[in-house]
């Protein structure tokens, strides 16, 4: 369980997170959604300790996140970002097992774990010795996901993991990711600006606007019982975009979910 208690964060005078309190529940997928600049990526950076909060407390399974505890707590988290964040000087396998090697896993164990993850993410093992530049966008995100999962973390943080992919690959990977999340039973926090994606993945959706939570709940709640005029506007804009894209199937699926 991840808990934010009255957390604030500013960058250069502009408030990004504004006195925010939220609980992210264990072993389910929480989608953080909101327009750009709403603070959703910052929330992830706060969880993994890339940035300390200006005010308030962040608790990971009731343990406060401090600069001291961050190193240990990070090893229980996996982090995937939009462009994958793969190290260009390391090949796919080296990217994936870098941390396991540093914490002293023997070769055999690392190999077995990588094989396991290749099967899970349907990544061709023959491509493991390729460098990130030699991989396709979809493959890069699979490698990034494997790297995040390597040490079997309890918490998986994904910041627009599919944002850089073209629509075909994106749709394919969405389906796969969802089944991976379901099989793994991990606490997943996924940042997206796309309501369809949030609805597709999220057991719970948290809608952020200007550093505050404007509504949290399920997709249905947002659509049917918008708490503020902003929610209705946001939902309407996204749904009409989806409709315009003639992607009714996804909306219908989301409505059912």
């Amino acid at each position: 369980m991840i808990r934010f208690e009255c957390v604030s964060k500013s960058y250069g005078g502009s408030v990004v997170i504004d006195n925010l309190t939220v609980t992210i529940r264990q072993n389910q997928t929480t989608a953080l959604i909101g327009p750009s600049g709403s603070g959703k990526s910052t929330l992830l950076e706060l969880i993994i300790g890339l940035e300390p909060p200006d005010k308030g407390a962040i608790l990971i399974d009731a343990e406060p996140l401090t600069s001291r505890s961050a190193f240990r707590l990070r090893r229980r988290m996996g982090y995937v970002i939009q462009d994958g964040g793969l190290f260009p000087h390391l090949n796919a396998r080296q990217n994936i097992d870098l941390m396991a090697k540093e914490v002293g896993w023997p070769l055999k164990r690392r190999r077995e774990r990588v094989d396991e993850l290749c099967a899970l993410t349907r990544f061709p093992p023959s491509a493991l010795d390729r460098f990130p530049m030699e991989l396709s966008g979809g493959q890069r995100q699979r490698v990034s996901l494997m790297r995040a999962l390597m040490l079997d973390p309890d918490i998986l943080l994904l910041d627009e993991p599919l944002g850089a992919l073209d629509p075909m690959i994106r749709a394919e990977l969405q389906g796969e990711l969802k089944s991976i999340f379901r099989d793994l039973t991990k606490t997943v926090v996924l940042v997206t600006h796309d309501l369809g994606e949030a609805a597709f993945f999220g057991d719970a959706i948290v809608l952020l606007h200007e550093g505050r939570i404007v509504q949290q709940g399920q997709f249905r709640d947002l659509v049917e019982r918008p708490g503020e005029p902003f929610v209705a506007r946001f939902v309407h804009a996204q749904l009409s975009r989806l409709a315009a894209m003639n992607d009714q199937a996804l909306v219908a699926q989301a409505r059912q979910g």
Partner: protein, 505 residues
């Protein structure tokens, strides 16, 4: 014939570096310096040969910059003897002390624990000269005639321009206020005079070029140029440390008349005979001194200079890498501190290389040490700047990914940041190394040897082959260094960073 002497030189250097404690019972040691003009080099070589004939270990440091450098080196006990002129001592070096005659000059030297030989037998005064036909055409015979021709272009040596008894005194005495002289190297001034790009130069009365080029020496009709007898000045303790060698060297007192000196200058500069041969020939005829030395062969000269040059470059570059890499990393990670570091390194870079070399002398003396120190300072900036930009250019997403993985700062540095910055760092080192190889040639001016020595001797003697003997290996070494760094880039820069194509799906 330089062979034995150069070997002794090497042995002496090695002995100083490795085992100064083993010097007990060693032969007498004498270190002789000379300025970077032919007459001075010949005189010093004469002294070196005479000292060597007594079995002393002799080091002759050639091509040391100007008067001030030699004087300071003598005071700092970096050299024991060098040829000087009484006028220079009275009017320039000791200008602030009221020296009226030779007796007061001896006293002034004695207070500094220095001694002066009796005159060697010839005078070498400053004079102003013009091409004979120009002087005739304009009707110029005396220096005072120059005032009537304000359009004449003056090319004067830097030392003459700055000496109190030089240009400032002449300008005042002859009312040459309208003249705006250009400062230039003395040897180049003769060429400028000959090809007509300048009209008036300063010269030494014993310069062989005077007769070679047909230069008219203008009469000093207001008697401004002082009598300038050649002497040897030496550290007084030499009488105790190396009595036999000193006695031999002082045989030069009164032994060289004007004609002999002009003849030797002529042989070296116009006939292009090596100074060592000229000096040996003079000693053979005047003193019947058998020439026991042989010429150092080209191969052995090149090998020695290569070792000297490599030593300068490798030590200074190695030290610069050790210091600049951490500074560059700090500068890349802390932009505010980085600005300060880069500003300091940039200021160092703007100091002219020769000036930087000379600044190092009070701290390190003359020889390889000050050159290495100066080259070290010069090599810092390219490495710091490239390392800093290599670190600053690491994408934030990769930084964050590395932190998020749970890597410690040291692990991030070793596994992520250094490999990612490695192309920039190596490029900086390559730049530093190539600049270093080139700049190291200037080290010859402060006694560090290397490829610069034949270059400066060649410029001085107008000997193109001699210039090539230094310039070609220096250029080749720069190419080799560049090639080595390119090889290192291939080996050290991770393959993943050299990929350019981005495969699409």
């Amino acid at each position: 014939m330089k062979h034995v002497r150069e070997r002794l030189l090497l042995a002496a250097i090695l002995a100083m570096i490795a085992a100064s404690s083993l010097a007990e019972g060693a032969p007498e040691e004498v270190r002789i310096g000379s300025k970077k003009f032919t007459e001075s080099v010949i005189l010093a070589d004469l002294a070196a040969r005479l000292a060597t004939s007594t079995g002393a270990v002799v080091v002759h440091r050639q091509e040391l910059g100007g008067t001030r450098l030699l004087w300071d080196s003598l005071l700092a006990n970096e050299i024991d003897i060098y040829p000087e002129y009484t006028g220079t001592l009275k009017q320039e070096i000791l200008a602030n002390e009221d020296i009226v005659d030779d007796a007061s000059l001896h006293r002034a030297l004695a207070t500094r624990n220095l001694s002066m030989s009796r005159p060697l037998g010839f005078g070498d005064s400053y004079a102003l000269g013009m091409m004979r036909q120009t002087a005739k055409r304009l009707g110029i015979e005396n220096i005072s005639d120059l005032a009537r021709h304000p359009a004449l272009r003056f090319g004067l040596s830097d030392e003459f321009l700055s000496r109190q008894d030089g240009w400032p005194a002449i300008r005042l005495a002859y009312g040459l206020n309208a003249v705006n002289p250009r400062g230039m190297d003395h040897d180049i001034a003769y060429k400028g005079l000959a090809d007509g790009s300048i009209d008036v130069i300063d010269l030494y009365t014993t310069d062989p070029e005077v007769s070679y080029y047909g230069v008219e020496t203008l009469a000093d009709d207001r008697h401004q140029f002082a009598d300038n007898q050649a002497v040897l000045i030496y550290r007084a303790d030499l009488e105790r440390r190396a009595p036999k060698a000193l006695r031999a060297v002082l045989r030069l007192e009164g032994a060289i008349d004007d004609r002999s000196m002009i003849g030797m200058n002529n042989a070296a500069k116009i006939d292009r005979r090596p100074e060592t041969q000229v000096a040996a020939a003079f000693l053979a005829t005047s003193f019947g001194l058998a020439n026991v030395e042989r010429d150092e062969g080209l191969t052995s000269r090149l090998a020695r200079r290569t070792m000297e040059h490599l030593r300068l470059t490798l030590l200074s570059l190695g030290a610069a890498i050790v210091v600049a890499l951490p500074l560059g990393i700090i500068a890349g990670k802390r932009p505010t501190l980085g600005h300060a570091i880069l500003a300091i390194a940039s200021v160092l870079q703007t100091i002219p290389s020769l000036a930087l070399l000379v600044f190092m002398i009070p701290i390190f003396g003359i020889g390889a040490a000050p050159a290495i120190a100066a080259l070290f300072l010069y090599s810092l900036l390219p490495i710091i700047r490239n390392t800093a930009s290599g670190f600053a250019n690491i994408p934030p997403s990769l930084r964050n990914s590395a932190i998020a993985l749970g890597l410690t700062p040291m692990q991030r540095l070793r596994l992520i940041e250094l490999p990612l910055a490695s192309p920039a760092i190596l490029a900086g080192m390559k730049t530093a190394a190539v600049i270093n190889v080139g700049t190291a040639t200037l080290g010859a001016l402060i006694g560090a040897g290397g490829y610069g020595q034949p270059i400066f001797a060649g410029v001085r003697l107008d000997n193109f082959n001699l210039i090539l003997e230094g310039a070609v290996p220096a250029a080749l070494l720069a190419l080799v260094v560049q090639g080595l760094f390119e090889l290192a880039e291939r080996r050290l820069v991770p393959r993943g960073l050299r990929l350019k194509t981005n495969a699409s799906i």
